[in-house]
Amino acid sequence: MSQKTIDARGLSCPQPVVLVQKAINEGLSSFDVIVNSEVARENVSRILANNQIKSEQTRDGDDIIIKAVK
């Protein structure tokens, strides 16, 4: 299965969280989330942590890529 990527750049609060929540609910075991604001990064990290999903972050210019692995 190819790695899913959620592009949440430029989406206002709480849409990044809604998209991540949907991915979790659909049972995706690993996916990437791209955001470009600190608030979105914090919110996505929190929702992943609340769901006991590990994540690691890398930066690419203004973009922050959050890799979620169950």
């Binding site: 899913k4 430029g10 709480p14 914090e42 929190r46 609340n50």
Partner: protein, 369 residues
């Protein structure tokens, strides 16, 4: 750099300080149960600029300037200043207008709803219930793919616009600028607009709110939304801290008077307290933040939030020019009269709710994960 305010302790400290300082501002001269109110204070600013002519509510509130400037400065320092724009601008303007109309039918933003409750004003319970209902409807839209679309990065200078406006407004106040005899800038001689703490204290409080709320992402609407949407109680803990410290502060300063009637700058028309805040809550949810949060975002360079703020100021002008804003309960010759909004205000609330529902339905995107 790690953000120490993004955790649970940070949001609680923010809420606690806002609650406490708001009560102190009230003690130092701001109107009763209105230590800080984004909607009321933006309404006062609209009046000071002459956008409406309700002479009891005209004052360029330094708290509002301070919040935007505080968020602007701290976001620059923390490298979070990021000018952006282009997410359904006109829709956000109208959401701001209707959010303000809803708030002025209740007589307060969510911050003031909490402060009113902390002062013993039980009418706020109806408003908070309305707020929860409005946000719940907003969450349903969000779950079904509601989106105002992406914003895009903009040139650095574009984000200076709203902070610069707010600085100019503060300077107008500081130098009591007058553009003509008996003309703007207006300063209320009586009524809530004439009640204010010292200019510098108000500015300092605003700056403090701006810095803390920018770091902690404090948002009243978000606090309820996140609980409904994701069982996330993070933001709610800050809101409850605000309520708790304001309550304790009011008790200590003798400002706590429980009841429905005789509450300062409030009315006990229950249905319209409920529906006014339902409209406001729905508009905040669709726009992605409460009025305080929109000020913070506009300080960080979010021009779409800035447009929402300008929409709220415009909405305040409409609310007073078209007799939509509620009148407080009053006592005249021993007769207690329940205030509230008139037929135009009631119609405006209904139109606003219909507008928000239409926006919620039509602005949906297929959610692909």
């Amino acid at each position: 750099m790690r953000n120490i305010f993004s955790g649970r302790v940070g949001i609680i400290i923010t809420g606690a300080i806002i609650g406490l300082v708001a009560v102190l501002l009230q003690y130092l001269g701001n109107p009763a149960n209105m230590g800080i109110c984004i909607a009321c204070f933006e309404r006062d600013m609209a009046g000071a600029l002459g956008l409406h002519r309700a002479d009891a509510v005209q004052y360029l509130r330094p708290e509002i300037s301070g919040i935007v400037l505080g968020a602007f400065i701290i976001s620059l320092i923390m490298k979070e200043y990021r000018p952006r724009a282009g997410s359904s601008t006109a829709i956000r303007f109208f959401l701001g207008i209707f959010a303000m109309i809803g708030a002025l039918v209740f007589l307060g933003c969510p911050w003031r709803a909490l402060l009113r409750l902390a002062g013993g004003d039980l009418n706020s319970l109806l408003a908070l219930l309305g707020l929860i209902c409005g946000i719940t409807v907003g969450v349903i839209f969000l779950k079904h793919g509601y989106s105002l679309g992406r914003s895009y990065s903009n040139k650095k200078a574009s984000g200076w616009l709203l902070p610069a406006c707010m600085l100019v407004f503060f300077l107008f106040n500081l130098f009591t600028v007058s553009f003509s005899e008996n003309g703007a800038i207006f300063f209320s001689a009586k009524g809530p607009g004439a009640m204010h703490a010292n200019l510098w204290i108000s500015l300092a409080a605003g700056l403090l709110f701006g810095v803390l709320a920018q770091r902690s992402r404090f948002c009243t609407m978000g606090s309820i939304r996140d609980v409904i949407l994701a069982r996330d109680f993070h933001l709610l803990s800050g809101v409850l801290a605000l309520l708790a410290t304001a309550l304790v502060g009011n008790l200590l300063l003798g400002q706590f008077k429980p009841g429905f009637q005789g509450q300062p700058i409030a009315h006990s028309s229950h249905l319209w307290n409920f529906l006014g805040m339902l409209l406001a809550g729905l508009a905040f949810a669709l726009a992605g933040g409460c009025p305080g949060r929109q000020l913070i975002l506009s300080g960080e360079g979010d021009a779409d939030a800035g447009i929402f703020v300008l929409g709220m100021i415009t909405g305040a002008a409409f609310a007073h020019n078209f007799s939509l804003a509620a009148k407080p309960d009053s006592m005249l010759d021993g007769v207690y009269t329940i205030g509230g909004t008139g037929v135009f205000g009631q119609a405006a609330v209904i139109i606003g709710i219909v507008f928000c529902l239409v926006i919620g339905f039509v602005m949906r995107e297929k959610m692909e994960v």
